[in-house]
């Protein structure tokens, strides 16, 4: 079944679902989400403004999984909130364009945006405990999305909610419907949030660090769940994370953000094998490797995100970069294509294609990468979305 067909019929159950008469089927070839020059500025008391997102552009095709990687403060979360229109109205200035199926979300009337949210655009947040209303039963928090975006009855919504919870791996879902968030474990809460987000079969799901607040063992389970569901439903996903391991196991393409701008953008394999921006290179190089010789020193990126200069003055990463030179201090560095197709870099002195500082994996079929967040290893092996005729390194 093509993802389009999956959109309009139920996957496994034979219950007639949410009426989709309001939605037009998704055209596979058109771009689902296009973010152009997104700019978010926070005005603070005392005059100092924070330029959290500084001209970010990326796009998402139907069914695609796009990763956004960066440290805290890089602007990745703010980007996602801006796309969904969830930033506070006061003290925030948002510019640019966020085109969802051709319509600009930033200028859309509030009512129309509310119609899209929850039904075609959905989001999963970082902290499952605080993202659920503590005084409302979990079941109600699921059914309210269903009731809002379709004409089903309350009892049908309840049945659907129970089914959703079951499919998200929550045992004894009937009982859970009446329970409160504090009665569920962290992993179950996040599954409930995923169930809520996917209840109306959205075309686009944005996940803002969905596993960061969870135990390591649960993280893997939740990511697996997301992978499965998204593939089942044909939902496109934007995965925001600071964890390269998550990206490696899930995403089709990756955008690396630093200080509010995208500094590198490439398909997943390409990024991991040929990182060009010095920041990406540093990120990959800082990951401890199981196959590294003993006694090899770790290679962190020196400095902190606060050792930065404004993009309007030069490359923001320059203060922390080993290869910084005078010509890096050029205002408004552009994002240029480099190397293979689809690879964009914002760097004056990018790493050469096969840089000695990035150690090539010996056998990339079973390369072990440890995420910076833990000792867990995720393999960068072929997943469903890579093409068969891929080159292999010797």
């Amino acid at each position: 079944m093509s993802p389009v067909e999956q959109h309009t019929t139920t996957a496994s159950s034979d219950r007639t679902l949410v009426s989709r008469s309001r939605r037009e089927p998704v055209n596979r070839s058109e771009v689902l989400l296009e973010v152009r020059d997104l700019d978010v500025t926070f005005a603070r008391r005392g005059g100092r403004a924070t330029h959290a997102v500084d001209g970010v552009s990326f796009s998402v095709r139907p069914g695609e999984v796009v990763g956004i990687v960066g440290e805290s403060g890089s602007g990745k979360s703010v980007t996602s909130l801006a796309v969904m229109g969830l930033l506070p109205r006061r003290g925030v200035q948002v510019r640019g364009e966020v085109l969802y199926r051709g319509r600009n979300l930033l200028t859309m009337p509030a009512g129309e945006l509310a119609d899209l949210r929850g039904s075609e655009l959905a989001m999963v947040f970082q902290d499952p405990m605080s993202s659920l209303n503590p005084v409302v039963p979990v079941g109600t928090q699921v059914t309210e999305v269903l009731l809002r975006h379709s004409d089903i009855s309350r009892s049908a919504a309840r049945d659907e909610a129970e089914d959703l919870l079951r499919r998200c791996g929550i045992p004894d879902p009937g009982r859970r419907l009446k329970e409160y968030p504090h009665q569920l474990s962290g992993g179950m809460r996040q599954r409930a949030l995923i169930a809520i987000a996917l209840a109306c079969r959205p075309a686009l799901l944005i996940c803002d660090e969905p596993t960061t607040a969870l135990d390591v063992t649960i993280q893997a389970q939740v990511l697996e769940l997301l992978k499965e569901l998204v593939a089942d439903l044909g939902t496109a996903m934007v995965m925001i994370t600071h964890d390269l391991g998550v990206v490696a196991g899930l995403c089709d393409s990756v955008n690396v953000m630093y200080a509010g701008r995208v500094v590198e953008s490439a398909p997943r394999r390409e990024l991991f094998e040929h990182p060009r921006h010095r920041y990406t290179e540093g990120l990959l190089g800082s990951i401890p490797r199981l196959d590294a010789p003993r006694g090899d020193p770790l290679q962190p990126i020196p400095g902190t995100p606060r050792d930065v200069i404004a993009w309007s003055a030069g490359c923001a990463f320059a203060p922390r970069c080993r290869h910084a030179a005078d010509d890096c201090v050029v205002p408004d560095l552009g994002l240029e294509p480099l190397g293979r197709a689809g690879h964009l870099v914002r760097c004056v002195h990018p790493a050469p294609e096969s840089s000695p500082e990035h150690r090539a994996p010996r056998d990339h079929r079973t390369t072990e990468l440890s995420g910076p967040s833990g000792a867990r290893a995720l393999s960068v092996s072929d997943s469903a979305s890579t093409t068969a005729g891929e080159e292999r390194h010797g």
């Binding site: 969904m84 969830l86 006061r90 945006l113 509310a114 119609d115 899209l116 949210r117 929850g118 039904s119 959905a122 989001m123 947040f125 902290d127 605080s130 993202s131 659920l132 209303n133 503590p134 005084v135 409302v136 109600t140 309210e144 999305v145 809002r148 975006h149 409160y180 504090h182 009665q183 949030l193 809520i196 987000a197």
Partner: protein, 341 residues
């Protein structure tokens, strides 16, 4: 749940015991000897002897205390030397008046305070918000009796001149004497409804307006600030953002997600305001010649009637403790996180 209630009720006991000890110490600390203090200046040797007998003031300290607290337990708070009437009896007779007044004040404070606080929170930082916050501050600092007088002058007695039109409300008392109303429960408004004497009921209501507003201003101010702070906190919570991400209607978000959480601390505040109400009632009732326990206490203090004062303290402490208990229980009902505990 039941266990929780029982446990709390049991905790009340040591508090009451401790209170009786403190009261006893207080009575003994009064200037002069206890019997005379309780009886006041009009004490005759016979009555002194009688009180000494009743309370055991001439016996050793421990016996005194036991006799004393025994009497308190039986509800014998003695008699007021000024009126000659038993203290507890007068309390119970005048208590409904204060309850009516307190309820009016609380109603005024809640019905006005919560919406105002909510509005202020939604427009936090704006001029409306600042106006409300400033207003609520004023409500807290203006002394109750000053406010009571102001209201009385403007809306009851009347300022000579153009503003005299505002003087529509009664100046004092609970009901006009011309209305011959039957009183069953001593809750005048309720009585009127029960006996279908509508004008009596309405008349009682008009008498409650000014004192209710005067008394309710402080709770109003506090409720406004509490609601505002609580709503602001809740608006910043992640689950409100989740609700918005679901595309829910604004009214639904407000009702189910914002208010249900914001009202939790406000409910506790409302319960706690009752203590402030009781204190304020003392001053307000005297200004409006309202026959509740507040004015009873006022007269007692001015007349140095310690018997009444002693009874009053115990009475108030018990009521206060019961109200706190009710508030705690309510909180346990509203907040599901506490229910399991």
């Amino acid at each position: 749940m039941l266990r929780f209630v029982i446990r709390r009720l049991l905790l009340l006991v040591p508090v009451l015991v401790g209170l009786s000890v403190l009261l006893f110490a207080w009575v003994r600390a009064l200037p002069g000897d206890p019997a005379r203090a309780l009886l006041g200046e009009k004490a005759t040797p016979e009555s002194i002897a009688q009180v000494n007998e009743q309370y055991g003031f001439d016996k050793p300290l421990l016996t005194q205390y036991l006799t004393y607290s025994g009497r308190l337990l039986r509800g014998d708070f003695g008699s007021s030397p000024r009126t000659g009437l038993p203290v507890l009896g007068t309390f119970l007779e005048r208590f409904p008046a204060t309850v009516e007044l307190s309820v009016s004040a609380l109603l005024f404070a809640v019905v006005l305070g919560i919406p105002v606080g909510y509005l202020a929170a939604k427009r936090a930082g704006g001029w409306l918000d600042r106006f409300f916050v400033a207003g609520s501050l004023l409500g807290v600092v203006v002394p109750v009796f000053v406010l009571a007088y102001l209201l009385k002058i403007v809306f009851a007695v009347g300022i000579p001149g153009p503003l005299h039109v505002l003087a529509v409300l009664p100046t004092s008392g609970r009901q006009d004497s011309r209305i011959d109303a039957t009183h069953i429960t001593n809750f005048y408004v309720l009585d009127g409804l029960l006996t279908r004497e509508w004008d009596a009921s309405w008349n009682a209501v008009t008498h409650l307006v000014l004192p209710g507003i005067a008394l309710g201003c402080i709770p109003l101010a506090i409720i406004v600030r509490m609601t505002r702070a609580s709503v602001i906190d809740v608006l910043n919570e992640d689950y409100v953002r989740t609700a918005q991400a679901k595309g829910l209607a604004r009214g639904l978000i407000t009702r189910r997600h914002v208010l249900r959480n914001a009202m939790l601390p406000v409910t506790t505040t409302i319960g706690l305001q009752t203590g402030a109400l009781l204190a304020g009632a003392v001053l307000t009732e005297s200004v409006f010649a309202f026959n509740g326990i507040g004015s009873y206490l006022f007269d007692a203090i001015s007349g140095l009637d310690f018997a009444v004062l002693q009874g009053f303290i115990l009475f108030i402490a018990v009521i206060y403790a019961l109200i706190n208990l009710v508030v705690d229980l309510m909180y346990g009902v509203i907040d599901p996180r506490l229910r399991a505990a």
